[in-house]
Amino acid sequence: MSGAVLPAGRASRLLRNWGFMVGVAIVGFAAIIAILAPWIVPYDPFAIDLDRRLVPPSFMEGGDPRNFLGTDQLGRDYFSRLIYGTRISMVIGVLTVITSGLIGITLGVLGGFYGGKVDDAVVFAITTRLSIPAVLVALAVAALRGSSFLLVVLVLGFLLWDRFAVVARSTTMQIRNLDYVSAAWCAGASRWWVLSREVLPNIATHLAVVATLEMALAILLEAALSFLGLGVPPPLPSWGLMISEAKEYMFFDAWVIVIPGAALFVLVLGVNFLGDALRDMMGTDLSR
Amino acid sequence: MTALLEMRDLRVTIGSTAAVRGATITVNKGETHCLVGESGCGKSISALSVMNLLPRGAKRETSALRFAGEEIGRYTERQMERLRGDRMAMIFQEPMTSLNPAYTVGSQMTEVLRRHRSTPRAQAVDRAAELLARVGITAPGLRLGQFPHQLSGGLRQRVMIAMALMCDPELLIADEPTTALDVTVQAQILRLLATLQQDLGLGILLITHDLGVVARIADRVSVMYAGEVVESAPTASLFATPEHPYTRGLLTCVPVPGKVKRDEPLGSIPGIVPRITPGFTGCGFRDRCPEAHAACTGAIPRQAVSAEHELLCTLKPGWGGKAAA
C-alpha cells in the first residue's frame, strides 16, 4: 500500500467512528463557547444580585425566563457562569497539556533515544513521580504558595507528565531501532536530524492520544482542586468551584450541583471519546 | 475396511474467503491418512472442521460428517465437547505455545481424564505417567510436576501426544506436528506416531506439507489445493502414477533418493496459492498450471484413475503417460 492512500483511509475510518464524531462535536462546541464567552453570555457572570438568589432554571418549577439556568447563591446568572467555566476548563486543560507535554516528551525522548544511563535516570524519574500522590501534593503546594490560575496550571503540568514520558520513551525506542533510522545513522545523519526528522514526526500521533487523555485528567483535577478550595480562586467560575459553593444547597436544590457537574462530565467524556478513537486508529495501524 | 471418519463435501467460508470448497476426506480404522499441500490451501481448516474447532467467523457445511458410523455434523457444542479429547483427539503444529504456561504438565494431562471419565486424581496421574513413558519420556514422574517452559519443543510435542492419548481415542488428528521441530526430533516424533498407530489401532489424519513424511508413514494421501482435494490415492499409487499437474509439481520439488539425478536442479511451482472467493468456478490451479487450457475455467470432472485413486482435473488419467518425478 502506498503512503498516500493510508492517511485518507485513516481519516475516513475516523469519520465513520461515531465516538470520534461525538468527541469532535463536544470538544469543538466547548472550544467555540470558550472563545466566544464574552460575547455570548447573557449577563455578567460576576454580577451579584442578592435579591434573586438560587432562582431555579427557567424550565423548572419557579423558574424565571430571564435566567435560563437559574442563579447561584449570590444571585449570579448560572448560565453565564457555566459559559465562563468552559473557558477555564479548556484553558487549564490545554495549558497543562502543553506544560506536562514539554516535560514528559523531553524526558521520554531523551531516555528512549540515548538509552543506557540516561534511560535509567528517566525511568527512575517516572517511577518516583508515580509514587507521589498527585492530588495531595497539588493541594499542599497550592496551600503554601496561595492558589492562583497560573499555579494550578504549573502544578498540574509538573505532576501529569508521566504518561507522556512513558509513551514517548517506548515509541522512540521502537523507532530508533527501525532499519531505516539505523540506516540514517550509518549514513552520517546528525543526532538532531534523526530526532527531528525521524523520531518526532513518528511519535507525534501516539503523543496526540496521550495529550487528549491528559487533558481530560487535567480538567478533572482542576475541578477537584477548585472543589476543595485550593484550585482556581473565587470569584472565577470554575465548574469545580461552582459545585463547591453550591454543595450546601444541594439537598434542597439538587440542580445547583447537577448543572456544573454534568457540564464537567460531558466535556471530559468528549475529550475521552476523541482520545479513544485516536487510540483505536493507532492500534489498528500499529498492528500492520 | 470400515470408515472411521467420513467427511463429505466440506465447505468452509471465512469472511469473503472460500477456504475449503467441497473436500471429501475419509479415514479408515487403523489407517494413516495424509493431507498434503502448500500453506493456505485449506488443510488445517479441514482438520479443524472435523472437531468443529474452527475460529469464530468461519462457517462450515458438509453433506455428511460421520464418525464411527454416527452423523456428527449436527452435533451441538455440548455433544462435540464430549467427543473431543475422548474419542477423537488433536495435536498441533506449535508445541511451544499449545500447552498452558500456567499449569504443570501433570495437571494438564490429568484434566482430560477427569473431565471425560471422572477418574480420581491418583489414577489419572498413574495413567499420565504411563503414557509419558510410552511416548518415550524418561523420568515421567519428574516431568509431570514441571511447567511447559521447562521442556524442550520435542518434549512438549511428546507431552501433547501423550495428552491426546489419555482417553484412548479412535481418531488422532495431527496438524503438522513436526514442522516446528528440529530435523532429528521430527524423525523421532514421526516414528512414535507410526508405532502408536500400530500398537493402538489409531486412525490418524496427518496434515503435512512434507512429502518425505508422507512416503514414510501414510497409507493414503489426499493432495489439497485451493480448498479442494485435487487427487486422492493410496500412497504407493500416488507416488507411482501422480496424475494431477499440481501433484506432479509437488513431487518434483522433493528430492527422493534414487529418483533425483545428480546435478539436476529440483523443480519448483511458480506463483502462490490464490485467495478464492465464493462463486469462483473452475480449477484453482489453472493460473500456475503448465497444462491449463480453456476447459479449466468450467466445471472440473471428478474422475477415477483406479478403484482407490481419484482425480479432480480436466485432463484424462494417464495423460502424461509417465510419472513426472
Binding site: F124, S131, A134, V135, L136, A223, M250 | E77, G85, N100
Partner: protein, 305 residues
C-alpha cells in the same frame, strides 16, 4: 529471580529516599516556613519564636538531615495544630483509609472482572461496546461530583445510606462505590484485552480440543493467564486509590488519612502534610513491589527465570 528482586528492591529504596527529599523540599517551597506556621496575625516576635522552637533558624542541610534521620526512624515530628505526634495521628487515621481503599478495590474487581471477561468473550458485539461505553463514562466521571450526587440520591431522597461519616459499615458503601468507579475503567479494559489475548492463544485451542467445558476453558485456562497483568494493575490502582482518598474522604467527611491531610493543609500544619505524602508514597512503592512478587507467583515462567 533473586537478583531481579534485589534490584527492584534497591530501586524502591532509592525512590523512597528521593520522595523523602522531595517531601522535605515541598514544605520549604513557601519561602519562610516560620511565617506560614505562625499564621497571618502573628507579630515579627512570634515568627522569631516559632523559628527558634521548630529549629528553622538552623542551616537548611542540618534541618534536612535531622528530618531525614527522624523520618527514617518513623518519627515525623509533632503536629502544630493537633498537638500530638504525627505518627500517632496517622496511625489512628490509617484504618479508615485502608478500609475504604480495600472496599473500593473489591467493588472495582467485582464489577470489572466479569465485565472485562464478558466483553472479551463477546468481542465486537453490542455487549462489548456497551462495556466500553461504561468504562468511558467511569473515566469521565468527576469523583467528588459522583459522591455528592450519590449522597443526594441514596442519602437524602431514598435515605438508604448515611450521608457522611464512618460510624457504621454502611458509611463505607457510598465512598467505596465512588472510589471503585475510579479504578473500574482501567481494570475492565485490562481484563478485556488480557482475556482477548488469552482466548486467541494456542493453549485455548488445545483446551477446546481436549473437550473441556466452556466454563473451564474461560476461567481455568483463559482468565488464569489474563489475571497476571490485572493483579499488577490492581495493586497499583489501590495505591492510586489511597492517594486519591483525600478528595473522597473530604466529600464524605470520613476521618481517614486523606481527611487528616486536608485538615492539615488548611491549618498550615506542614509536618502532618509532609508525613501523609510520604506514607502514601511509601505504601504505593510497597504495593508495586508486592505486585511484582505476585506476578512471579502467578507466572511460573518468571518464577524459575
Amino acid at each position: 529471580m533473586l537478583r531481579f528482586f534485589l534490584r527492584r528492591f534497591a530501586v524502591a529504596v532509592l525512590v523512597a529516599l528521593t520522595v523523602l527529599t522531595l517531601a522535605f523540599m515541598l514544605t520549604r517551597l513557601s519561602g519562610d516556613l516560620a511565617v506560614s506556621i505562625a499564621g497571618p496575625n502573628a507579630t515579627a516576635e512570634d515568627v522569631e519564636t516559632v523559628r527558634r522552637v521548630y529549629g528553622l533558624d538552623r542551616p537548611l542541610t542540618v534541618q534536612y538531615f535531622d528530618w531525614l534521620g527522624n523520618a527514617l526512624r518513623g518519627d515525623f515530628g509533632e503536629s502544630y495544630f493537633f498537638r500530638d505526634r504525627v505518627s500517632n495521628l496517622i496511625a489512628s487515621r490509617m484504618p479508615v483509609t485502608v478500609t475504604l481503599g480495600l472496599v473500593g478495590l473489591v467493588l472495582a474487581l467485582v464489577v470489572s472482572l466479569p465485565l472485562g471477561i464478558l466483553a472479551a468473550v463477546r468481542e465486537g458485539s453490542w455487549v462489548d461496546r456497551l462495556v466500553g461505553l461504561f468504562a468511558m463514562i467511569g473515566q469521565a466521571m468527576p469523583s467528588f461530583w459522583l459522591g455528592l450526587m450519590l449522597m443526594v440520591v441514596f442519602g437524602l431522597q431514598l435515605a438508604w445510606l448515611p450521608i457522611s461519616g464512618a460510624d457504621t459499615w454502611e458509611g463505607f458503601i457510598l465512598p467505596g462505590v465512588v472510589l471503585a468507579f475510579s479504578a473500574i475503567p482501567s481494570l475492565t479494559r485490562l481484563t478485556r484485552s488480557g482475556m482477548i489475548e488469552a482466548l486467541a492463544s494456542d493453549y485455548i485451542r488445545t483446551a477446546r480440543a481436549k473437550g473441556l467445558t466452556r466454563l473451564s476453558i474461560l476461567v481455568k485456562h483463559g482468565f488464569r493467564n489474563a489475571a497476571i497483568p490485572v493483579v499488577a494493575i490492581a495493586a497499583v490502582q489501590l495505591g492510586f486509590m489511597l492517594g486519591g482518598s483525600v478528595v473522597i474522604e473530604t466529600v464524605f467527611a470520613l476521618h481517614g488519612v486523606g481527611y487528616l491531610a486536608w485538615e492539615s493543609i488548611s491549618k498550615n500544619d506542614f509536618p502532618v502534610v509532609q508525613a501523609v505524602v510520604l506514607v502514601l508514597a511509601l505504601i504505593y512503592i510497597g504495593l508495586t513491589l508486592l505486585a511484582d512478587l505476585f506476578n512471579a507467583v502467578l507466572d511460573p515462567r518468571l518464577r524459575s527465570a
